[in-house]
Symmetry: C2
Subunit: 129 residues, 2 copies
């Protein structure tokens, strides 16, 4: 598929997908005559994965590492599993933090209902968190 479709299906911009191809994070085939990139379904899957991981601040390098786990036949499955479990526990920490952030904001929304809003409630809330 062309870059436009790959971008749409992975929720990335065309610019970003092109950038990922430039740095070698994905390696689409290239039509020699037109110069157009040609993305396979696997390329798309990788883009979708990267898009998701990037939204949670996993760096490009970390994404690369995770992706390479599957292509590098020399790695032992122990290694694969270890890195994966490490990332999962990072995700668990993020989940807790994100729930916490949600809690703080919803506390704020509920305490700012009245028209005569008093002193800022969030700073107190935040201070003793």
């Amino acid at each position: 598929m062309n870059i436009g479709k790959a971008a749409k299906l992975s929720n990335l911009t065309v610019k970003t997908v092109r950038y990922y191809a430039d740095i070698g994070l994905v390696k689409p085939l290239k039509n020699c005559s037109t110069g157009y990139r040609d993305f396979s379904d696997d390329d798309l899957a990788q883009l979708q994965f990267v898009a998701k991981a990037r939204r949670f601040n996993f760096s490009i390098q970390e994404c690369e590492e995770l992706l390479s786990l599957y292509s590098d036949k020399n790695r032992s499955s122990k290694e694969v599993k270890a890195l994966t479990l490490e990332k999962i526990s990072e995700i668990d920490a993020k989940l807790i933090e994100l729930k916490d952030l949600r809690h703080q904001l919803s506390f704020l929304a509920n305490n700012c209902q009245g028209n005569d809003r008093p002193e800022c409630p969030i700073l107190d809330e935040l201070s003793n968190a």
Copy 2:
């Protein structure tokens, strides 16, 4: 408190806190004679809030907006509530996505246990997600 303590308590680096002060995201007092920044508890609370929000890719500008809700007495509480609720629904979407990412990785970890790892399971998993 000094910048070092503020950084430690907000899980930011000294460099980053200094940067936030430079761009006016927080406004610590400044000791005229030494030039040292002096962070109040409120400054710290703001840093903690920003640290958390930034970890989930809320931009500096969004952080600024959220923080300003509390200091700007001219805003109506309706406005405060609307923006806050908007951010909460963004967080809900992120929560779903993050859980999904966790699921994908744990699926992978479980399917890479054996020593003779077969073809990559994640790409299949990702493709039909």
